[in-house]
Symmetry: C2
């Protein structure tokens, strides 16, 4: 029984480690770009709602994507070897990103906070409040782009 349990535990740990390490650097870059791109589409939808006809359901759905993406643990997609183009996957991340983990964490936490708040405000259907919070969310994106993204 003990051996059986030990085997399960080891298998579990192995699975966990594998889950983290099974991705090639180019796959990490591909997935993180996918996350940012899909978020961009959803940010664009909220912007269009604020500038055009406001549809609460569409804004809620978009804010849900943005918050869920921010909370998905994308830090795992910035592993070793993902600091430059690899396997045909280009990246705009600056080398500084990998040298200033505390600053990265600070910006990431601020961004998560703003997207969570955007999700909350979107659910109220208050377009004016969404506009304010959308601005703050965009600023939290831009803060990281300005510091850690090329061009």
């Amino acid at each position: 029984m003990k051996k059986f349990v030990t085997t399960l535990v080891l298998a579990g740990l192995a699975g966990s480690v594998m889950a983290q390490q099974a991705l090639k650097p180019e796959e990490m870059i591909k997935y993180r770009k996918a996350g940012y791109n899909f978020m961009a589409w959803n940010m664009g939808k909220i912007k269009a709602n604020l500038e055009g006809t406001y549809n609460k359901d569409q804004v809620v759905a978009a804010a849900n994507v943005i918050a869920a993406t921010a909370n998905s643990g994308m830090g795992a997609l910035f592993g070793p070897g993902t600091d430059k183009e690899v396997g045909g996957q280009t990246t705009r991340v600056k080398p500084e990103f990998f040298k200033e983990p505390d600053k990265v964490k600070e910006l990431a936490m601020a961004y998560i906070k703003e997207t969570n708040e955007l999700q909350k405000v979107a659910a109220t259907g208050d377009a004016a409040a969404v506009k304010v919070q959308f601005g703050k969310t965009g600023e939290s994106c831009k803060a990281c782009h300005d510091k850690f993204r090329k061009d």
Copy 2:
């Protein structure tokens, strides 16, 4: 006053229409591929949790992304001109996708239902129930891939 309101309404409608039509076909393809790719990463995380050490928070976060993505109105990203490669953006969608809207809707509704249920079950932390629902979700993805995706 009437003219002012009319102008606002027209501006609103114009903004709304622009929001739907501002995307080029290659942008629609890029965004929908981003959504599917980011979902694939999150499906992979749940699979790794089920096969390895189960971390409730990670599974909840991943299920939130999957459900939010499914509910984001991706149908808008299958507009005219997105049935084949355009602007350097390849696509695996089959021509049949654009000819069988009722079947597309049926598969999309089933997939949304399963992802919503996955999100609900993940929140309970019941790994065995998540495993069952993860299987159903995967089947709902596969049903569309088998019918409307090349290879």
